[in-house]
């Protein structure tokens, strides 16, 4: 009966939701601009649009003449022939590592040809970290130093040679920082072990157009910025228990939002933590995760995977616009709503966004917290249950703007919902519930739809950024 096992194994494999493939990216660092572009796969090879690569670096135009794609960059002319491995730049032949492709008038070149193409256009050498797809043009890069301070609690201090702006994600056991538009260069060993109970190690890895720094520790970790973005300090986050329960108890009856708890223990010496507030503009929370699968969108598709994919697109979109974001969940991990609220509140963002997905209905629903209409004094825990109250009008501002932006392309509704942890969040807070765009469930796993929703949301949040910042 071995064939039965094979069939069952096959069914089991089919039942596993396909992981959302991470979008391949290339990042370019130059004195003119640091930018990141998506990479397209053709015939098993990585391709990128040459016009998009050159645009931030100078004046560039392209046209098709006869069979050739004619490119003009500053005062240099170049010709590319579709399906040919040779190009001509400033009158010289240049070999490509694969065929030049012309798709809808867009000229695509193999990514690994950039290292020969660009010096011919720019007249200067470039350094290409091929595996990680990171290209440095006349750019020394940003270096870093790490130091573990054995204070109580311990702190890992990362000092950078120039300001940085990573996207930060936390999950049980680690804190991850993705430096996409920062020309960070490896400046030490890939893994540093600290021999400390709270912060055990840090790894520095170049991957997919970015540098990924992972700090490992058994307790939840939190990052804060100081020194104009040149210093990041990582320390154990206040535990949910200590940040949830005592704060409302200690709060006066006028429902002051729970105060940040780091370093507020009465007997502790003044905290040497940098006084600067973390610079996160947004906290992005992919709902559900781990054992908690959320809605079964189909037999194979769990809400937790779709919400993560949408959240990651939002995080990426924020990152590519240089807006600092904290991802509460960046993998298939389990977080309670109290942990989500506590981690979000400790980060003091201008906006918290919870991301859900549904197979029912079409379009996107944007939610703000549903709070009791009259605030009665129901004991000491009221402040936690209605911590959102002072921020509700900022949340509604954000929800209205997000809905207006989404409505340009997608059906939208705005509602109030009894959805935790919205009511526990001490900043502007919204939740989105994404349904298919057209009623076809496949929309939810479409990278195009995920990107459309993400970019609309981020455009809207960027438009009300000043208002949200002032509500902090």
């Amino acid at each position: 009966m071995r064939w039965i096992s094979f069939v069952l194994a096959g069914c089991w494999l089919l039942a596993i939701p396909a992981p959302t493939p991470e979008e391949k990216r290339i990042s370019i660092y130059s004195p003119a601009a640091d930018y990141s572009l998506s990479v397209t796969e053709r015939e098993g090879k990585d391709y990128v649009g040459l016009l998009e690569i050159l645009e931030p670096l100078g004046g560039v135009t392209a046209k098709i003449e006869g069979q050739k794609w004619q490119l003009r960059f500053n005062d240099s002319d170049a010709q590319f022939t579709p399906d040919s491995n040779k190009a001509r730049i400033r009158g010289r032949d240049v070999d490509l590592t694969g065929r030049f492709l012309l798709e809808n008038n867009r000229g695509l070149v193999p990514v690994d040809s950039l290292v020969t193409l660009l010096p011919n256009f720019l007249g200067i050498p470039v350094v290409f970290h091929t595996t990680a797809r990171r290209l440095f043009i006349s750019e020394a890069g940003t270096t870093y130093k790490t130091e573990l301070k054995k204070t109580t609690p311990p702190k890992l201090v990362l000092n950078f040679s120039s300001p940085v702006n990573p996207t930060i994600g936390t999950e049980p056991g680690k804190l991850t920082m993705i430096f996409l538009r920062d020309p960070l260069v490896p400046s030490g060993p890939e893994t540093v072990n600290f021999n400390d109970k709270a912060i055990s190690s840090a790894t520095f890895k170049e991957n997919n157009g970015a540098v990924e720094v992972t700090v490992n520790g058994p307790v939840p970790l939190l990052a804060s910025f100081s020194n104009d973005g040149r210093t990041i300090t990582i320390a154990p986050a206040p535990s949910p228990a200590s940040s949830i329960t005592p704060a409302p108890l200690a709060a006066p009856p006028t429902a002051t939002p729970p105060a940040p708890v780091a370093g507020t223990a009465p007997s502790a010496p003044p905290s040497p933590m940098p006084a600067a507030t973390p610079r996160y503009f947004a906290v992005v929370d992919a709902s559900h995760g781990g054992d908690e699968r959320g809605a079964a969108l189909s037999d194979k598709l769990a809400e937790k995977d779709v919400s993560l994919a949408f959240a990651q697109h939002i995080g990426q979109e924020l990152g590519s616009r240089g807006i600092a974001a904290l991802m509460l969940r960046d993998s298939d991990s389990t977080l309670t709503v109290d942990q989500r609220a506590s981690n979000a509140n400790s980060a003091h963002p201008a906006i918290y966004i919870s991301v859900h997905a549904t197979s029912e209905g079409i379009g996107v629903r944007v939610y703000t917290a549903l709070l009791p209409s009259a605030r009665e004094n129901r004991g000491p825990f009221v402040a936690w249950d209605a911590a959102q109250a002072p921020f509700l009008s900022a949340s509604q501002t954000a929800a209205l703007r997000v809905a207006a932006e989404l409505r340009k392309t997608i059906a939208v509704r705005i509602l109030a919902a009894p959805l935790r942890p919205l009511n526990n969040v001490t900043s502007a807070a919204i939740a989105i519930e994404v349904a298919p765009q057209t009623g076809d469930l496949a929309d939810l796993t479409s990278s195009n739809y995920q990107q459309l929703v993400a970019s609309s949301i981020v455009t809207a949040l960027a438009a009300v950024r000043d208002q949200l910042e002032s509500s902090r």
Partner: protein, 200 residues
């Protein structure tokens, strides 16, 4: 918190109540003239014997994502608590119907409704209702709002509602709608009025 003898008493009444619920569900009918969007044009069921009263049920409609007020006749019981139970059983009759605008899982029941103090109603559902409820922010909120608003509209003085499952507290209905706290009936009414206003 709940007197034991009441539970026993209700158990005795259960068979009768279920039979009445069957009638109620046949009788649910014409849309009432209220501020909420009204659309049900099904014919009114013929009157049945026995004393009944007209009530307003707030029925969830998944397609439009809102509540619609519908008038219905339910058996006329004596106390507020029994009245509350009749109301919710009538409502569930609609949701369990094969043409339900907001389908409930087969076997879903409201076990009991308790009026604990003058302003607080406690709804105790069976586990089937919660465990097999569809999961989603709006779909769960529609259920909660429908139950809460139906009680508030017909039982004067109810301003808070707590929902239990099999007599126990639960975090959420089906992963989203918060059951850990009390629902403020005024907040629910305001929110669901806004759905009607923004629904089309």
């Amino acid at each position: 918190m709940i007197p034991r003898h009441l539970e026993i008493g209700m158990g005795v009444l259960l068979v009768a109540v279920l039979m009445m619920a069957f009638y109620v569900h046949r009788m649910k009918g014409r849309a009432a003239e209220t501020g909420v969007r009204v659309a049900d044009t099904r014919p009114v069921a013929p009157p049945v014997a026995g004393p009944t009263e007209q009530v307003i049920l707030y029925v969830a409609y998944d397609d439009a994502g809102l509540l619609r007020a519908q008038s219905a006749r339910v058996p006329l019981p004596a106390g507020r608590q029994q009245r509350a139970q009749e109301l919710l059983r009538a409502l569930l009759g609609i949701y369990l119907d094969k043409n339900s605008p907001h389908p409930f899982p087969t076997g879903a029941e409201v076990r009991d409704v308790y009026i604990v103090d003058p302003g607080l109603a406690v709804i105790d559902t069976n586990s089937v209702l919660a465990d097999n409820h569809r999961s989603g922010i709006l779909v769960e909120e529609l259920t909660i709002a429908s139950l809460v608003r139906t009680l508030a509209a017909n039982i004067p003085g109810i301003n808070r509602v707590k929902i239990l499952v099999e007599g126990k507290e639960r975090d959420t209905l089906a992963g989203h709608a918060d059951l850990s706290d009390f629902y403020d009936t005024l907040a629910i009414s305001k929110a669901s009025d806004q759905w009607a206003a923004a629904g089309q």
